[in-house]
């Protein structure tokens, strides 16, 4: 059996742990640079606010209903997420951290421990996370990961006190399949959902009832077939278990990542070439830092530029170009060089961009990098030393304190706002959570 534990409105919940006065009132959290809504409390959802709504467009609604607005505070959310995972590790031998607010637990072979019954066990997971960390969750339990995800969706629809859903028997599984539309099945995208609807396959139950061969032919081959098996209760997707890390990080050790990216939306559109160059150089430096932190080097570098998604003008709103690097690297200088070259080709003079990003892919361990034919080995050694010194300085004095001039000399001049950010309650001595006498003076 698998359990999927999903934190309710995670970012909002994190803020509320330290500021209980926002319990019961509508709260939203904004994306980087206060671009759009990325988390909404139940009260905010009830006001009709949607995920991804542009902040500047819904501002009047937010003001009208006195919605509390937070800028994203990833230092806080990351710490709270690690705490949740740590609690979950006490409940199952294998835990897969699926995202910052979701984790799969493998409850296989747990019959002895879970003798109280899965429903009770799932309830206990929920209660413990709520008590230890203060975050409300929903738990779905089922024989496969796809079904666990489905059970979790159903659990989330229940009242706050009882967000648990267990698919223990075939009857329970079939009922859940009936209650789930195909577009809500984990792994089925918009395109396939439309295709299935055209064929009059609207629920997960209808899909699971199709012959296996049909699914293999019409639903993405082996991937679709696996999904079909999973819907029918036969696990095909294994848990990608990650070891809980040591005390230093409190959290899960990621399996090798596939890419390192840094993308941001700007508060105000940027057309100016110099400012775009500074932004892209900053993102390249950040991506490079992520690579070095995990001892990886990248073969491919992609630069993205985005125009206003909400503009009435037709045509795509995201443009990208990918460069194959002569040999894999994690050197900020080199990555910045290629990123700026790519930007040069990508940018159209006079166009205003609202988003930009750098994605490094084709990753390999830095020690196993194929050396370039025309590259002097000592240059590589020097680059490594330089990067180590750079990282050490920035670790000590704060992110991006020491940077390449390409990233701008003024402190991140291109960067937009994060006006409503809460303190880094748990990760910063200067901003440590404060408790006062306020209530006692009455």
């Amino acid at each position: 059996m698998f359990a999927l534990v999903d934190c309710n409105n995670f970012y909002v919940s994190c803020e509320r742990v330290f500021q209980p006065r926002y319990e019961g009132v509508p709260v939203v959290v904004l994306s980087n640079n206060d671009g759009c809504l990325i988390a909404r409390s139940d009260e905010a959802k009830a006001l009709g606010l949607k995920m991804g709504d542009a902040f500047h467009l819904v501002k009047p609604t937010l003001q009208e209903h006195a919605v509390k607005v937070f800028s994203s505070n990833y230092a806080l959310y990351g710490d709270m997420s690690r705490r949740v995972v740590r609690v979950l590790c006490d409940f199952a031998p294998e835990v897969e951290v699926y995202s910052i607010d979701e984790a799969f637990l493998n409850l296989g072979g747990m019959r002895y421990w879970a003798s109280e019954g899965l429903e009770q066990y799932a309830g206990r997971i929920r209660e413990t996370v709520k008590q230890y960390v203060g975050i409300p969750t929903a738990v779905g339990v089922a024989p496969t990961k796809v079904l666990a995800k489905m059970a979790n969706r159903l659990a989330r629809k229940r009242s706050e006190k009882e967000r648990v859903w267990v698919l223990g028997t075939d009857a329970q599984r079939l009922e859940a399949l009936e209650r789930t539309t195909v577009e809500d099945v984990w792994g089925i995208g918009h395109r396939y959902a439309r295709k299935l609807h055209e064929q009059n396959i609207c629920t997960a139950a209808a899909l699971a009832a199709k012959p296996r061969a049909w699914v293999r032919q019409y639903l993405g081959g082996v991937v679709g077939e696996r999904l079909w098996y999973e819907l029918n209760g036969q696990p095909c997707l294994e848990l990608e278990a990650r070891l809980p890390d040591d005390e230093a990080t409190l959290g899960p050790r990621a399996t090798q990542r596939q890419s390192a990216a840094c993308t941001r939306s700007f508060t105000r559109p940027i057309a100016d070439e110099q400012r775009l160059r500074e932004a892209v150089a900053t993102f390249a430096a950040r991506a490079a830092e992520k690579l070095r932190a995990e001892g990886l080097a990248a073969h491919l570098l992609t630069v993205l530029l985005g125009t206003d998604r909400f503009s009435p003008k037709p045509g795509p709103s995201t443009f990208s170009t990918t460069v194959a690097l002569p040999c894999a690297t994690n050197d900020t200088g080199q990555l910045t060089h290629y990123a700026l070259g790519a930007l040069q080709r990508l940018r159209r003079a006079g166009t205003s961009y609202t988003r930009a990003g750098v994605v490094c892919a084709g990753l390999e361990p830095e020690g196993r990098v194929q050396l370039g034919l025309f590259e002097a080995p000592e240059a590589r050694q020097k680059s490594k030393q330089l990067m180590e010194a750079l990282d050490a300085l920035n670790k000590r004095f704060g992110r991006a304190k020491v940077r390449y001039a390409a990233a701008g000399t003024k402190p991140l001049s291109w960067q937009g706002r994060c006006e409503y950010v809460s303190p880094q309650f748990t990760t910063n001595w200067e901003q440590l959570w404060r408790i006062g006498d306020a209530a006692a003076k009455a």
Partner: protein, 160 residues
């Protein structure tokens, strides 16, 4: 080909210690200290018995002076502990957190400050007290906070 599946066992590495016997085979006079070697003390073990559920907070105000919790002190608050009569707790009152001593007698619950200048907080009949967590430790600094970056020594001092 053998496939190895990573299998994680939940272990609390912070609290997981093994005795250290670092003695070498003595060719000369054995060090009398060898038998008494121990791992160095880790303050984390003391402060964070439950790392996932323990939060640090800075206290502002003097309502708990009598309990040795003073303005600007840092307290460790553990959410995993059951709040019992007599515990110092962080409670939620009117949407704010506050540090007080929890008192329970029969069906009565109240919060006591440890400073006569503050009133005892009695809970209204039928109202539920929300306890954030139990205070386990207090860290009191005897010196004013100095430079911002830890380990950075102010210039004049370095010259002296």
């Amino acid at each position: 080909m053998t496939r190895i599946t990573p299998f994680s066992i939940s272990t609390d590495w912070a609290g997981f210690t093994l005795p250290l016997f670092a003695c070498v085979v003595p060719a000369g006079f054995p060090s009398p200290a060898d038998d008494h070697l121990d791992a160095p003390l880790n303050l984390h073990e003391l402060l964070f018995a439950h790392p996932a559920s323990t939060f640090l907070a800075r206290v502002t105000g003097d309502s708990m002076n009598g309990a040795g919790i003073r303005h600007n002190d840092i307290i460790a608050v553990d959410r995993a502990l059951e709040p019992a009569d007599g515990c110092i707790v962080v409670a939620v009152l009117d949407g704010e957190h506050t540090v007080k001593r929890l008192r329970r007698e029969g069906t009565q619950t109240w919060l006591e400050p440890e400073n006569p200048r503050y009133p005892v907080i009695r809970l209204h009949e039928g109202s539920e007290l929300i306890v954030f967590g139990v205070v386990t430790h207090v860290i009191h600094a005897f010196r004013e906070k100095r430079s911002r970056v830890l380990g950075q020594v102010p210039n004049q001092r370095r010259r002296a």
